[in-house]
């Protein structure tokens, strides 16, 4: 079992992916999802708050970083945790999230990095509908930020051929018939 943060750190440390922070120009802050930070610490004795920040810093110029919370362990829930995003209590969920909206506003950041599907949906689709979030523009998953910052080098001809052969074998096994393609 590997967490997304550990995997991304490994890719960066080992030089398996290259990042170009110069493509990102907006100020950014980091949200601490309860499951990755506080509850991870309580359950496993380790948390991802620092790694979330470190990976974010690999993607932006450090001058653009804005801290939301000095103590990730005591950061606030987005308001949609524990399945609340899917529950019928929208009014309560959005009222709950005011403290998160206020935190984001106070950072002055334009982008919020949220390494959790649920937090991302609440911060991106929920909170801006009802709360003033200051300079806020957009929410990105951690892996979305990394993907946007990637320098992608195309594979070699040999690698591509090998992948195509594996793909074709897989499609045949699974009965997937793609529309005719011209190569």
């Amino acid at each position: 079992m590997v967490s997304v943060q550990e995997l991304l750190k490994e890719y960066i440390d080992e030089g398996r992916i290259k990042l170009d922070p110069s493509v990102n120009h907006h100020t950014i802050t980091v949200h601490d999802p309860c499951n990755y930070v506080r509850k991870s610490q309580m359950a496993f004795g380790d948390h991802m708050g620092d790694l979330n920040r470190w990976i974010t810093m690999q993607c932006v110029d450090p001058s653009l970083y804005r801290e939301m919370c000095d103590d990730p362990m005591n950061n606030f829930c987005c308001g949609a945790g524990g399945g609340a995003w899917a529950m019928p209590y929208d009014e309560e969920r959005l009222a709950y999230g005011k403290i998160k909206a206020d935190q984001i506003k106070a950072t002055g950041a334009e982008i919020v990095m949220a390494p959790c599907h649920n937090c991302r949906d609440q911060i991106m689709k929920g909170l801006p509908k009802v709360h003033d979030m200051g300079n806020y523009k957009e929410t990105l998953y951690l892996w979305e930020l990394v993907a946007n910052t990637l320098v992608i080098e195309p594979w070699s001809e040999e690698e591509i051929e090998k992948a195509h052969a594996a793909r074709d074998a897989q499609f045949e096994r699974d009965g997937i018939e793609m529309e005719e393609e011209e190569e």
Binding site: M1, L7, C34, A84, M87, H117, A147, I152, I176, M178
Partner: protein
């Protein structure tokens, strides 16, 4: 003249407490200091039925459990508006398991009274392998189509390896993505492409969202985790990536 208020007799049956069953004596340690409710964004959001102007909060819910009013907690909206974020439990100076108690209150809710789709989704998952009931064939075609799109956009040679035996990494998927936001799957795919990762996704039971955890359904929660591990074993993959 108003009738003189008489104190209500409270019957406390500590031995048979269901929520306290997690830690029978812990709730009783509460000092009523309010650290939990003072630092909780859900404080004041849920009106207490039959008590005008009074709202639920973490401290009151724990006190209700101490006083044997478990059923009132179970029947209230409190355990569901609480997001189980754990801040109260982390901060409690007496080590009371607040978050676990409120999740236990969810477990005690009758299944057909679990709010929203999380119970139905859990049942759907047990039956069809994902919360939204996406059929296997649709899923496989979607991965093939999107993979081809990504190959054309930026990543020559890219495809989504399904059920690849002996891969280095197996990935779960959040069903909301194939269902409603399919392009969002490409973020990870680009990263795997750039890193030349040897990865795979299972054609069955690939759901990464565990609603049994949230609905308080322990057997379903465990079953879903078991399936994810089973997929890894079946495909002889050493590492599971769980991007939730």
């Amino acid at each position: 003249m108003a009738e003189e208020a008489k104190p209500m007799e409270i019957h406390i049956d500590r031995k048979n407490r269901k929520i306290g069953g997690i830690a029978p004596e812990l709730a009783d340690r509460c000092f009523t200091c309010g650290t939990c409710s003072g630092g909780c964004p859900a404080t004041g959001l849920v009106p207490m039925e039959g008590a005008e102007g009074v709202t639920w909060d973490a401290r009151k819910a724990i006190r209700a459990i101490v006083f044997g009013m478990e059923q009132e907690v179970v029947d209230s909206k409190w355990p569901w508006v609480c997001t189980l974020c754990g801040r109260c439990e982390y901060a409690c100076p007496m080590g009371i398991k607040l978050m676990r108690s409120f999740r236990a209150a969810r477990t005690l809710r009758e299944r057909d009274k679990v709010p929203g789709p999380i119970h139905k989704g859990t049942m759907m998952n047990l039956e069809r392998g994902n919360n939204l009931g996406i059929p296997k064939e649709d899923f496989l075609y979607l991965l093939a189509d999107l993979g081809k799109e990504l190959e054309e956009e930026c990543c020559p040679g890219f495809y989504v390896p399904v059920d690849k035996e002996g891969a280095n990494l197996i990935v779960t998927i959040n069903s909301k993505e194939p269902f409603g936001e399919p392009d969002d799957m490409k973020f990870w795919w680009k990263i795997f492409y750039a890193a030349k990762e040897d990865w795979t996704v299972s054609s069955v039971n690939w759901e990464g969202v565990n609603w049994g955890l949230f609905s308080g359904d322990d057997p379903a929660w465990k079953e879903q985790v078991r399936r994810i591990i089973e997929n890894a074993r079946r495909l002889k993959v050493k590492t599971i990536l769980y991007p939730e």
